[in-house]
Symmetry: C2
Subunit: 261 residues, 2 copies
Amino acid sequence: MSPSRYDPGPNEAQDTDLSAPLPESIPRWRAVEARIAEAITRGDWKAGMVLPGETALSASMGVAVGTLRRALAELTAAGVLSRRRKTGTVVTGRAPRHSLRFLFDYYRLHDLDGRLCRAETRTIGIARAVATPAEKDALDMAEGSEVLRLQRLRIVEGRAVMHDHFTLPARLLPGFPDTPEAAPDLLYRHMSDAAGIRIAAIREHLAAAAAAPDIAEALGIAAGAPVLLIEETAFDEANSPVAHALHHAETSAHRYVNEIR
Amino acid sequence: MSPSRYDPGPNEAQDTDLSAPLPESIPRWRAVEARIAEAITRGDWKAGMVLPGETALSASMGVAVGTLRRALAELTAAGVLSRRRKTGTVVTGRAPRHSLRFLFDYYRLHDLDGRLCRAETRTIGIARAVATPAEKDALDMAEGSEVLRLQRLRIVEGRAVMHDHFTLPARLLPGFPDTPEAAPDLLYRHMSDAAGIRIAAIREHLAAAAAAPDIAEALGIAAGAPVLLIEETAFDEANSPVAHALHHAETSAHRYVNEIR
DNA sequence: AACAATTTGTTCGTATGTATG
DNA sequence: GCATACATACGAACAAATTGT
């Protein structure tokens, strides 16, 4: 904190609250990474800013250069930072919103101007049933396994823009609520917190389709209007499918954004 | 190659042609990474196979452990490998098709059964012009800059399934051909080879729309039929936009596939 | 044009911790 | 408990690229 000095600084990033002791029990490079990412998302280090050099940063955070480099490498791979010799390490300003590393609610609805939309989630149905053959196949389950089915709406500024239909192996989520009111909004976060399931990869199959009557009604559009169809499968670290979902999105005023590296 | 012995091996990966001298002028860890990735895509190391330990591998390839670890870390981050203590390093079998690292023609059309489609590319138009305000904005160019416009069709089994409209800053690609016949099929590969432009990230805005008459005709579908709209922007390592494209895909028999980590 | 200084990139080596069989 | 394999952490030296003198 060093309250004795005030230094607005020219274009260089200044200290946030580095040199505070790092938490234990997690890798130091990860703690360093989180601290830097936090400083960026908080706006302490803005887009285009150049960070202090490796030696200075590592010294100020009390870790070896190699440890700091690991953290910077991860953030660079995630697209948050860009590094060039002599120029230094600069904040790209590209949002880390599309990486599973940083967000459990990784959804990515933007408006036509490119701004991220904050979507409210409303669960409208929960049911338990024996898996259909298609579900059994998609989730790699045994014969007769039970599944949880969830229907949800994503709402932006009062308008429903996406309809979700999730299918989850019931075995993975014992004690999952049976009423829509009690359902968690952040499904993947809940899976991580309540059942220790960490999503390692998500695969999406995208298509355009004409809206079926029930979907059209839920989204408040005409039947047959074009909707974005997203078939999503989530995998854990062992590469087993742990969730399957079918999304229908109304995209006359929104875009589904995707970033590839 | 060691032709004196033949060893089918139990479940362990055996030598491919490691210990061959590594190429110069590129980082050694990248050469190691490429060699391992190649062995996997060639089928030498199959899905589920466990690779030799770090020390053994590094020794057999003539690099330090840290160098090998860098290569393995990259492949793990890309989803090609999975590493666990004691168990070792195993091949996941998940395809690295959606990573910019491995494919210049990164396009990702699959059929409804999930199989990757090999799409033929046909360039149907090339033009040079002064950038429109929208293009100038999307590509972050100066007033009055010249752009290259490319129209292409993606064809799978004789049927056009996607229409591409690319816009590129003409300044970046001097000597680009002026006739469709001479245009390169792999645009990003060409940009890398001919102009040294390396694509570091791609952002896509996806939506569903009703097909306009000209697009409908190009794709051989009815006007107004739902099409998948993909607005794509490619960035180089300095985070500058270097290409912009508008894709229209016919998705009655195909899916556009996307993998997130 | 040549050169020096700075900053990241690569490579090496080593030591210790930790999870797993 | 022990051996094994990866994970973390440290440090050091040199290479390569870029900027400014």
